[in-house]
Symmetry: C2
Subunit: 202 residues, 2 copies
Amino acid sequence: MGRPAAISDDDVLDSALKLLAAAGDVSAAAIARSLAVPSGSIYHRFASRDHIVAALWLRTTRRFQDGFIHSFDALDAAQGARRAALHALSWAKASPAEATLLWLHRREDLVTAWPEDLAGSAARTGSELAVALRKAADRLGFPGAGLDRVRFTLIDIPQAAVRRALVQADIPWTTLESLVLESLEALIGPGAGAKPVDRMTA
Amino acid sequence: MGRPAAISDDDVLDSALKLLAAAGDVSAAAIARSLAVPSGSIYHRFASRDHIVAALWLRTTRRFQDGFIHSFDALDAAQGARRAALHALSWAKASPAEATLLWLHRREDLVTAWPEDLAGSAARTGSELAVALRKAADRLGFPGAGLDRVRFTLIDIPQAAVRRALVQADIPWTTLESLVLESLEALIGPGAGAKPVDRMTA
DNA sequence: ATGCATATAGAGGGTGCTCTCTAGATCGAG
DNA sequence: CTCGATCTAGAGAGCACCCTCTATATGCAT
């Protein structure tokens, strides 16, 4: 088999995650320092710095998304939606560094040029989410452009709650859960979306 | 008076904003290239790269925040709240690059080390917002910890809508306005916050 | 034991950025 | 016109980082 590896691929990604959450960016050199190996060893596994961060982004996205999509496997659509919305909160609570990576940064800021050989993987991951949302929207009774409403409710608002938690450490998770659930009820609950709120006069 | 300046401070900030929105980060060298002046001229006005980005962040925050806080000057509190929530959308629509700067990046990622001499300015800006929110929360009938609810409704949810618009260009602004207003009505409208939604059984 | 596959080890070339320093240009005041 | 103030002009020192290259170590199969 050859000489055993001193570090694993996941070691590199874990180190990159730690550095990213702390400093806001990563360099291959910093990862190597953090792992106490020469930078050459890093490049033996990953073709470039961008490959490291892209792989980390993919791993993190899939870790979140698997649980998110799985949340829809409830008996009825409404309960699945509630579980999915709250999943972002519980996941972020358990994995704040990964949540920071996904939702406090832009993917294109993390990865300067997305590697060619990971494009397919990224596209597949994106499609999975799109399909799950489309299905959830249909089951909830929001076909067509109603998808925008469902996505805002199940993704954007929960992410906003997570951002708030990451920025303001003293806010109780229960408060955020309530706010997310109340919004959900108003936006995609029974009888929602019928008529918009009466406009302001000015 | 001395030799007239070829570029103004605002020219530097405008250039920095443009580069930031496009590439996700700025260098003093890139700003100099963009303005077609030697980098020395940049450092004649700003002590460091961090001073440039910090000044830009402050200018942008104040531009948004002035309008936001002003929105509360309505006859009744509820209307003021609606105007404030929608202000984020109209401002972002008019200034997408500035909205990108404020809400698609973390301040600490933009500015490596916040300059000492701008700390007071930043603190003052933060306090202004805190005071305005506190006052709005009280007027809306959400004292004490109710502030968290008001902040989520008037800041976090509108920002989530803006992020969605910046990421997904084809979503109609009217859709986002409806979603923001409906959430607002549910979270801080008349009779809101009384009882949380009935919990899921699992 | 020998060979091959697989890793580590570590130096260093090339690049780009931050910031400094000196020289020169351009204005108003007296 | 001369002086002082203010700015541009531009080179370059110092530094970090990306990535490559060669040399060397370690394990399994035969």
